[in-house]
């Protein structure tokens, strides 16, 4: 791999690393698994970097590679599947006016998202990132209409998880 690509890659990755962190947060639980997946995504990005010609933004390209790594290439260790509980709560930033009810709702929501499958998580992730349906459909390789339909179904599924009795 060409040596002079390294500085440019490392710089761009360093600037865009939150993309990877967010994916790790969604697909793993626990610090070790987070680091593990972060490293694997970094390696995959670096391996694919010579093919990246700057036709799209680095971040757009990185989203795709990072998601693909999380969904297909990453081998979950037993440790990371065993616990589903969201452990990132300590990262929550609080508003000055502390809203207990909202906090509680958020906790449940994070838990519910963790119960989704890999593909559903990817859709939710891109939704949270304000990606439009064109990009979502291109990233996953599904049609735009069906991406919308699926997102609506996921919303329904989340509602059901939050409120199983439908009250």
């Amino acid at each position: 791999m060409s040596e002079n690509l390294e500085p440019s890659f490392v710089k761009q990755l360093q600037e865009n690393q939150n993309i990877i962190h967010k994916i790790c947060r969604l697909y793993t639980s626990g610090e070790d698994a987070h680091k593990d997946l972060f490293q694997e995504i970094t390696i995959q990005l670096w391996k694919a970097f010579p093919k990246f010609r700057g036709e799209s933004k680095f971040s757009t390209w990185a989203y795709r590679v990072a998601l693909n790594t999380a969904i297909t290439l990453y081998r979950k260790s037993k440790r990371s599947i065993a616990t589903v509980e969201y452990e990132g709560r300590q990262h929550f930033t609080h508003d000055i006016e502390y809203n207990y009810e909202e906090e509680e709702q958020l906790k449940l929501m994070y838990k519910a998202v963790y119960q989704l499958n890999d593909i559903e998580k990817a859709l939710v992730f891109m939704y949270l990132e304000d990606k439009d349906y064109t990009e979502i459909s291109e990233t996953l390789g599904i049609s735009e209409v069906n991406a919308r339909v699926k997102m609506n179904r996921i919303k329904g599924k989340l509602k059901k998880i939050l409120n199983p009795l439908g009250v």
Binding site: V10, L13, N18, A48, H91, I119, A122
Partner: protein, 217 residues
Amino acid sequence: MKELDLLKKDWKKNTASFEQVSENEIYKMIHKRSSSIVKWIFIISVIELGLGLVLGLMISFTKYDQKNIELIKSLGIYGYYIATSVFLYAVIFFFIYKFYSMYRKIAVDDSTKQLLSTILKTRTVVKQYIAFNLTSFAVLFIIFGGYMFYEGYIQGAAKNGAIHPEMPMNIALISMVVLILATAFLTCAFWLVYKLIYGILLKRLQNNYEELKKIDL
């Protein structure tokens, strides 16, 4: 859905809270080895493809094979033997070539569905290769085993003083059926174990691929 909007707000607020990885650490990371499933699939596939090749070569270099060749020559089917060998090796090399070209197509920046499909197709090539090997092994085993049994029986009968030793039809039929059943059983057992291992390796990929296909139905 108001909960989702709430989540979105929180999600964005929390972006800045990740412990940042330094450039130095990234430098170190890119020189580490990948432990991705594709790498495992590649290693396992190369072993599987290589095994068929090595086994074939090993057999053809043993004395056992030399004896067989003499036997085959005396039976006057040497031409068929060579043709079969050439055919088998051609098929093996065809599979290796197909695997390699499929493997090269795996691109992590494809769409997720395309990527999953390419990985699964790559494995399908290896699966077909194993199926081919098993089938040809089973066929050869039945033909060769049947022939050996027949020869053994005739020679035994000759020793016992038969002038025109012949194998009775019922014995021939029963032994053939037993041989075919035993071979089929062994082959199926092997195939099941193989499919099981294969299934464990690819379960997650297959599930995700199915899920994506279902969305577009």
